[in-house]
Symmetry: C2
Subunit: 493 residues, 2 copies
């Protein structure tokens, strides 16, 4: 272990790993110390206090002269660890923000150190093979009966949805249509709307939901309004961000097919249920979609980024093909050098597939499936505890994959808007105190009234029933004390 | 160090770093062993041989049962290291594919383990501050005289260019124009054309070049063809991929201003010259651009991804603003929680800024500038060696930033197309033998004839003159032996 490695030492080559050894020790020590000092799921005091603590040790982002590698790593990794919202803490449950597996984070270190770039074979000879085989395996899992399924690695669900819409737009153009109409549920992720905007498509038409799931009858009425001359892409969701709801895929498949519309499924959250023996059947109908968004940095326990777009037929990806002499000249391709450029809308690309490949080998399909099951079971346990709690109320929709919506009874006792403000305040109070990171979601209650709910997204397979009980006690106690949390609004974004 | 950490252990929390300790040891050992076994800049035998070796140890990407974390890390990291094209090897000089700094790779391990996601404050409290201050510092470097410069972190030059065009499209729309016309040099990166296609814009109009640089007179003629009613975005390049050429920015700024056109500069390669005392002046005029693409995974020595888009005025980023209740509800923003969603076209986002922040602190501006200078000097040394070599010919354009084009004299002695085939064959032969990774580029020779050249992009600050001499000997000797390298074309992509 070299304690005097220069700041400009390289990570690669024969020497690089040895140069890295002491630096990674420094990083791991700083991360452990930071977590201890934080002492909870997130730092105390809210945005201004966190910013002040970071800038106290790091006043200048671009100093004229350096402090050396070890000092810089200690200072910045320490500051970021002390000021992290740590998804490995059982009380950090706001978002589809998973605690990564140690094995995946370790594999990702190799990606950084070796730095293969996935845009040409001569930057990533072996990583090319790993990506090819992992994407083939994941595509086969989504489309077990397809002759030529395929998949791309993306930066996440947002990019997967963008590429799905881009491919659909190009199919529509190739068929001579002027444009493409996207139709999605009112429950669809904002990235579907954003993708249409980015691509210059008309705004998606939104179809009503029942219980947070797209209503097939409403889709039927919408599609009946389009003639066969207008190509339509229906975007369904398997695991909504707000409720973990899975659209009724078999019914939607039928409706879309009847109207000659294509179907894309955003399964960024729910897609990993395919790994679970117990729950894979909830995705029945998925393989009728022309494309499917997956995301292994949600249920999948990968460090960001680990997105996937699976397609039923490899041919649909040909619309991404692109030739540029420096990366995939025709004579190189003819001589047998693989052409990777059509595998992404990015050019330079980190081998995010390496950590996925290592995880799949380390745990196997059953091991990953067990982690999925533990999160689903944890959410069921949590919902039960909420339901039995005298001061908390469970959302009538129950558990969605591993998501639970609930409200303090105290909020129900207030008028609609004030009740919602109470819910939002409880969340902000817990954030300000550094005691819990809960999410929020709007959803209808039993009476069809739109209400704000606290949201727990359980992605930590190590969470115990006792952790969950402690979280509920925190929420109930916080709701019992009146407060309004106003972080000062300074010049921080 | 825990040798019996379970495969499902988490990277975060107080315990995570300790779980990671042994795994990172395994990774670093496998990377070092792999580099030794490879014994050169890339593996021998070409694509089929590399694929066969990977699949020999890793026959199934999705096994039913796992092998455990240590075995999986050893197997896959070992295979990828043995089969890497290693930019830390001085004979790996094909692309803008840099050898990352050990300090940056180590910092990136913390990003993976802590897994902050940059789409909301409650997923990344401290990392938010780091991103804010580093982007402000980089924006200030690009725009030293601007009142409110700003910058976004992107996945690379391709995304930076896409967002630049998207923002310009939205400005044009807001001004009531039907569309936006992009005008770029014939030397522009393919991502400019691809961005226009993605965004549904008309294909960019291409302006001729002289010596690989956009010709201001040709731009003048092109812009004269558009009335003021057609918004035009001129995209100039500061560091072309093929030649490292920097467009004549001051002249282009004048021409664009005269015609009321906006200017974006793709400085993915050249932008880091700003860190160099000796070479920053080459970018004179840069700060007249409305937006500038930078890329710290090129000259910048960051593991992928480390892209940046700087803008002269923070207001132009407002067109990316987006509100979605679960990430940045109005009442949360009013209460002082920072709104991060408008800082990217992605949603979930890794804190790529952490490794950049650590590098800037460790090396300081002068330390980074010295690395830039070493690469520029290395390229000058290489060009001189080529020029003095009896069997090699330097491209008449000389060095572009750190890029050198050259050809075996043997290729010049053949007819045009055969000469080009000879150049391509030399490159493929060196790849197949695992002895050197050289790039290729088409460029005009003294007589204005379009020719294929070997390309060396020198991004390794540790390369010595002796390394370069050895590389030239390899090329000259390979060119002296006739050969045609045909990799078998199987079902590998």
């Amino acid at each position: 272990m070299r304690r005097h490695t220069p700041a400009a030492a390289l990570a690669g080559g024969v020497e690089g790993p040895d140069q890295l050894r002491y630096f990674t020790e420094v990083v791991l020590d700083a991360a452990a110390d930071g977590a201890c000092e934080r002492g909870g799921p997130l730092p105390q005091g809210g945005p201004e206090a966190v910013a002040a603590r970071v800038r106290e040790v790091w006043p200048n982002a671009l100093p004229e002269h350096g402090t050396g590698a070890v000092e810089a790593l200690r200072t910045l990794v320490g500051a970021v660890a002390r000021g992290a919202a740590d998804p490995a803490d059982p009380h950090c449950v706001a978002h589809l923000h998973c605690p990564p597996l140690a094995v995946a984070a370790a594999a990702d270190l190799a990606a950084a150190a070796l730095n293969p770039s996935m845009d040409s074979w001569d930057q990533a000879p072996a990583a090319t093979v790993v990506e090819q085989d992992v994407t083939a395996a994941l595509a086969g899992l989504v489309y077990p009966r397809a002759a030529r399924p395929d998949a791309l690695v993306t930066s996440g669900g947002t990019e997967s949805n963008l590429v799905a819409l881009l491919l659909a737009r190009e199919r529509a153009r190739a068929a001579g249509a002027a444009s493409l109409q996207v139709v999605c549920g009112a429950n669809a992720h904002h990235s579907v709307h954003r993708a249409a905007w980015t691509l210059g498509l008309p705004a998606p038409v939104t179809v009503g939901c029942a219980g947070g799931r797209m209503d097939p009858a409403a889709l039927e009425r919408t599609l009946a309004g389009y003639g066969r001359a207008t190509p339509v892409l229906v975007v369904a969701t398997a695991g909504t961000t707000d409720q973990g709801a899975i659209d009724p895929l078999p019914e939607l498949v039928d409706v879309a097919a009847r109207h000659g519309a294509e179907l894309h499924v955003d399964a960024a959250y729910g897609g990993m249920l395919l790994f679970s023996e117990a729950h894979a059947r909830r995705l029945s109908g998925l393989d009728a979609a022309v494309s499917v968004t997956l995301d292994l940095h949600k249920l999948g326990w990968q460090p960001v980024a680990a997105g996937v777009l699976a397609v039923a037929d490899a041919d649909v990806l040909e619309r991404l093909a692109l030739t540029t002499d420096y990366l995939n000249a025709d004579d190189d391709t003819e001589a047998g050098l693989p052409d990777l450029l059509g595998r992404s809308i990015r050019t330079t690309r980190r081998p995010d597939v390496l950590k996925i490949a290592v995880t799949l080998r380390a745990l196997g399909r059953t091991g990953v499936g067990e982690l999925v099951d533990r999160c689903v079971d944890g959410a069921e346990e949590f919902a039960q505890q909420v339901d039995q709690h005298p001061r908390l109320r469970l959302h009538p929709g129950g558990v969605g994959i591993s998501t639970v919506l609930f409200r303090p009874v105290a909020a129900d006792e207030l008028a609609g808007r004030e009740g919602d403000a109470c819910v939002a305040d409880v969340r902000r109070k817990l954030l300000a105190d550094g005691r819990a990171v809960l999410g929020r979601a709007r959803a209808q209650d039993e009476d069809g009234d739109d209400r704000l709910w606290l949201k727990a997204t359980l992605l930590n397979p190590q969470t115990t029933p006792a952790d969950l009980a402690a979280l509920l006690k925190l929420v109930a106690d916080t709701a019992a004390a009146p407060h309004t949390t106003q972080y000062s609004v300074g010049d921080d974004r």
